[in-house]
Structure formats: C-alpha cells, structure tokens
C-alpha cells in the first residue's frame, strides 16, 4: 500500500508539473474518444433506424413465407395463415404486418416514410403515446411515428397527403392523423400505420397488383404464452402451418437487408479507431519512458522499488486517460446537441459504456510495454554502467 501512495505522489506531481505535455496526450485521447463515441452513436443510430420497429415488437417469433430467407420484403403470406398461426398451442396472440413505403407530400419538404399496417391491439401494432387507434375497414386514418410529427410539425387531427406510385401513375391519398407512436423507425425511415384495407388501397403497387383488393401480410408477429418455450412453439408452427418459416426477433433483425454488413462496417471502424488509439498512446508513453531512463535509474538506485516505479507509470497513464476520456465524452455530448435530426445519432447506454470502458483500457494497454520497460530499467543506469 505504501508503494501505491508513493507512486501516486510521484505520478501526480509529474503530471501537475508538466501540465502542457500531459494535456496534449489527454487531448489526443479526447479526440480518439470523440471519434469512437461518434462511431458508436452513429452505429447505434443506423442500427436503430433499420431495426427499431422490429426490435420493439411485442412478439417472440416472426412468421415468414417459406424460402423467403427471413427477409420481410421477400415474404408475402396467405391471408389464411394468420388464423392457422393463432390456433397453434402456445401462441398467445398473432398479428399480421404489412410493409411498404410512401412519401408524404403535404409538407414543405416531401418526407419518405415506411407505410405499415398492423391490427390495433395485436402484436405488430406499437402502443400509442397520444391520440387513438385508427378505425378498421378502409378508414383514411393514420397513426404516425413521433419522429414524423417532430420533423414536420404534424399534430393529431391534421391531414396529410401521401403519394404512391400505382401502375405507371402517381396517386395521392389524404389521411387524417389520429394517434402517435414512439421510436418506430423501419428501414431508415419513420413509420406511418394505416388499416390493412387502406394500406392495400394506398400502397405503391404494380399494374398487376391493382387488380386485387386483398391485402397480403408480409409477416406475422407471434406472441407466446410462455416465451421460454420458444423453440418448442417454433417447431409446432413449422409442423402445423404450411408454407412458412419462423425466426426469432434477433434473426429477423440480422436478416434485414444490409443490417449485418452495415453493423460489421461500423464495428470494424470502431475497432480500428481503438487499435490506432492504443498504438498512439503506447508510442507516446514509450517515448516518455525512454526519455526518463536515467531518472528511473536514480529512483531505483536510491531505494524505490519496482512497485513504486511500475505503479507510478500505471497511475499516470490511468489519470491521463481518464481525463482524456472524460473530456472526449463531454465533447461528444456537446457536439451531439448541434447535429441535425436527419443524422442517425443515438447514445445507447450499453454500447456507450462498453466504448468508454474500452477507451479507458487503451491507455493502460498502450502503455503496457512502457510500464514493463520501466520496471525492467536497471538502477545501474544512474551510475552510467547499465
């Protein structure tokens, strides 16, 4: 313990008496922190924009059309499938989900949105934070994502016009906003929900599709009586419902087109930023230790143990790194305030904490070689014999 106190004394004195040099290192660490947290937040933002609706589903399993490779856009289920799914033992509830896209054109700037449909009160329909559910049938009513409302200043009771390409013509449909849901981005776009029959009427479709008035769901969200029985119920579904494949939520998310590749890219960027950080910090501390060889030799010659020298190096690195990370974290928060809402920038607690822990480790990791080097310096260096 005495060694640690002595090491702390030496480490802090050196930092305080060489503020400029250590501030410079902290600044480098702060910039690396800024970069890593930015990448982490952008990664989270991108992931959120892609998966948020699916990730927030109140469901345990998703039913797809067979051979659709768990891709929502490639799946189109028969209308009877929903009834078959609901009859399976272990299924508490199931709701069809219809996906498409459209563009709100009644705004100053047209806004592309994901046009979804789900049955109110069933899995697939997110909980309302304001207003009421849309009515059934072909009611021209919509529940919109709060992000749409925030970006376009739309309020409940307002009417919006959406444009949809049907056949070779652009068609315009007016919908009344009756409710709001929160955090429901899908495929990088905020969402609007409409009744299934309305969805079938207003969604973009080819000439051939126009002949049919039946809405076919892309997928079915399934809520289980006992989520622990997920594998059992999944098998039951496969056995008793024809022409389907079933996946859990994480599998569904990973099969969203581009999701895995995108996250892999972002994570690789983050990893290499950390790696470069480790090398930069390691290089700095190694140069510093090389400059201090005679000084460390004297310290050891007059009776400082390896513990004092080693701990001093560790404490110094930890203090400088922690300060740099704190400044970097503050800068990231500050910058995030000035980012436009179109940039997907989301601080996720777990991801940010993991990034901060990794950042706090880059100093000691980078300085590991220099710490070992410092401990191995011979006190004879003080006497020009080492």
């Amino acid at each position: 313990m005495k060694n640690v106190f002595l090491a702390f004394y030496l480490a802090i004195k050196e930092v305080l008496r060489n503020k400029g040099r250590f501030l410079l290192v902290s600044l480098v660490i702060a910039l690396i922190t800024l970069l890593v947290l930015f990448i982490a937040a952008l990664g989270e933002g991108l992931a959120n924009g892609n998966r948020q609706y699916v990730a927030n589903l109140d469901a345990d399993l998703i039913v797809f059309l067979e051979k659709s490779d768990f891709q929502i856009s490639a799946s189109r289920l028969d209308t009877n499938t929903i009834r078959s799914v609901r009859r399976v033992d272990g299924v508490a509830d199931a709701g069809p989900i219809y996906t498409s896209s459209a563009e709100i054109v009644s705004l100053d700037e047209p806004l592309k949105v994901s046009l979804l449909s789900a049955e109110p009160g069933r899995p697939g329909m997110p909980p309302l934070i304001e207003g009421r559910d849309f009515r059934g049938g072909e009611a021209r009513e919509t529940v919109i994502d709060r992000n749409v409302a925030l970006r376009s200043n739309i309020k409940i009771g307002d009417k919006i016009i959406i444009r949809s390409t049907q056949g070779v013509d652009d068609k315009f449909f007016t919908l009344e906003v009756v409710g709001l849901v929160d955090g429901q981005s899908y495929f990088f776009q905020p969402t609007i929900f409409v009744p299934a029959s309305t969805w079938e009427k207003v969604r973009p479709q080819s000439e051939a599709d126009l002949a049919s008035n039946t809405a076919y769901p892309n997928i079915i969200a399934v809520k289980l009586t006992d989520p622990a029985q997920i594998d059992v119920v999944k098998q039951r579904l496969l056995d008793s419902v024809s022409r389907i494949e079933v996946a859990d939520i994480p599998t569904t998310i990973n099969n969203i087109p581009g999701y895995s590749a995108q996250q892999g890219t972002v994570q690789t960027q983050g990893f290499f930023t950390l790696l470069i950080g480790v090398m930069v910090i390691g290089g700095f501390f190694q140069i510093q230790i090389l400059q201090k060889v005679p000084q460390i030799g004297v310290l050891k010659a007059i009776g400082s143990s390896n513990g004092v020298v080693g701990w001093s190096a560790v404490i110094q690195i930890v203090v400088v790194t922690a300060f740099g990370v704190a400044v970097g974290g503050g800068l990231t928060s500050l910058f995030s305030l000035f980012l436009p809402p179109t940039i997907p920038f989301v601080f996720n607690g777990v991801r940010s904490v993991a990034a901060v822990i990794l950042l706090l480790l880059i100093g000691p990791l980078g300085g590991l070689v220099s710490i070992i080097y410092a401990v191995r310096i011979e006190p004879l260096k003080a006497l020009r014999l080492g």
């Binding site: 004394y9 010659a301 007059i302 009776g303 400082s304 004879l380 006497l383 014999l385």
Partner: protein, 242 residues
C-alpha cells in the same frame, strides 16, 4: 570509530570474447563512520564498478561487502532495495534529481521512501538545505537551479535519512572548479559532522584535499592508499611521487 563499510577480497570479473576481464581484483578495505574516503584512478581502473558493488547495485563475483554489519551477499533483491533506501545515501554525476520535484521535495523524497515524511522531516530538510546555502531555493525545480546548486540538493538528499554510508559518483564532474571545491568541502563537512562513512569516486585529484584517505585503483586493483595528510595534499596538489 566503527567500520560502517567493509570490503573483503572483492572480485568482479566479466567474460569478454572468451577472455576473463577483472574489473575489480581482490580488493579489501574498510571505511569507518565519520571518515571521508576518495576512490581515485584512471578510466577503466574499476572505480565505478566498485561503487556499484558497494551500492548493492551489482553483485560481486566473489568476496564480501558489509554495510553496517550486513553482508550484501546474503541479501535477497528486496533486501538490497531496502538497504539502499535505509542505509545508503547517493549522489550521482548527472541526472541527480527528480526533475518534477522541487529542491525540498527531492530531499524529502528520501524521507517518504523511508516512511518518515512528517513535519519534523520537513523542517530538517529545510534546515539542511539552508545549511547548504539554498534557503531561497527550496521551492525551485531542478531546472531552475545551477549545476552546483543541484549537487548540493543531492548532497542534502543523500544525508537527510541518516544513512550509514554515503556514496558519491563523480559529484564534481559537471561543475566548474570553484563550485567543485565548494561542493566537496561541504560534503566532507557534513559527512564528518553527521558521523557517516563517505566514499567519493573522482578522477579529479584536487578534490582529495578534503578527504581523510585516498584509495588509488589501477586495472581493478587497489594499488596504493594515501593516509597521511601530507601524502594526500601532495596527491591533491600534483606533487606526489609515484
């Protein structure tokens, strides 16, 4: 006076290109408390190797070294570190002081190492530095001190914890003549007053005028001991007959 330092038949040899080189070859001597001894000799005579062994920084090939009655050969690495901290005071040729500690903090650091940093210790360090003419430099960093002032701080650091033996490695090498004389004179005075055993390695024979005895080394061997005041003065003034 009792022997604070005793060297018996000390040998340090190295293997170089298949040949055995004797840096120290069968050397024996004693230094008593209150005695200031100079270790002189040309380059390569083995002075610094000898000092390294006395400082428990280098192990001898054979022979024994006793500091304050403790046999260095019987000690573990940890015990050697403790010995250097408690029983030995050091001054070095250069890079003597810790650059980010003030003069007083450098001196007090020895007390911190020995778990004796308290109000009394702080007062003693200030007094010692004042005796060395540095009362107005207590809070200066080494870079703000001249070479002579730095050496005086190093002397204070070497003595503050009352070690049995004080070792000085070429303490005047980086000083001009006038400051060199001042530093060694002060060193000698403090060694005598504090009843420590002092050993100074030097290539500058003029500095020997302040010591009680001179050990002359050549090719690793102790070739001559100057003990009388006349002999030492002759050596120091360059009138010695070889």
């Amino acid at each position: 006076m009792t022997a604070a330092l005793e060297v018996k038949n000390l040998v340090k040899s190295f293997r170089l290109d298949g040949a055995t080189i004797y840096a120290v070859n069968n050397v024996s001597f004693q230094v008593k408390s209150g005695e200031f001894v100079a270790l002189v000799g040309p380059s390569g005579s083995g002075k610094t190797t000898m000092l390294s062994i006395l400082a428990a920084l280098l192990s001898p090939t054979s022979g024994q070294v006793f500091i304050d009655g403790q046999d260095l050969a019987q000690m573990s690495d940890k015990e050697r570190v403790n010995l250097r901290r408690e029983k030995i005071g050091f001054t070095f040729q250069s890079n003597n002081l810790i650059p980010f500690l003030t003069a007083q903090e450098n001196v007090e650091f020895m007390l911190r190492l020995n778990n004796r940093a308290n109000k009394t210790g702080r007062m003693r360090s200030a007094e010692l530095l004042a005796r060395l003419g540095l009362s107005d430099r207590l809070h200066n960093l080494p870079a703000q001190l001249s070479g002579g002032q730095q050496q005086r701080v190093a002397i204070a650091r070497a003595l503050i914890h009352n070690p049995a033996v004080v070792l000085a490695d070429e303490p005047t090498a980086s000083l001009d003549t006038e400051r060199a004389f001042q530093v060694v004179e002060t060193f000698a005075k403090l060694v005598h007053e504090n009843d420590r055993a002092g050993i100074m390695v030097t290539h500058d024979l003029r500095m020997c005028q302040y010591v009680d005895r001179v050990l002359q080394m050549q090719d690793g061997k102790l070739v001559r001991v100057y003990e009388t005041k006349d002999e030492i003065m002759e050596l120091a003034t360059g009138t010695v007959k070889h």
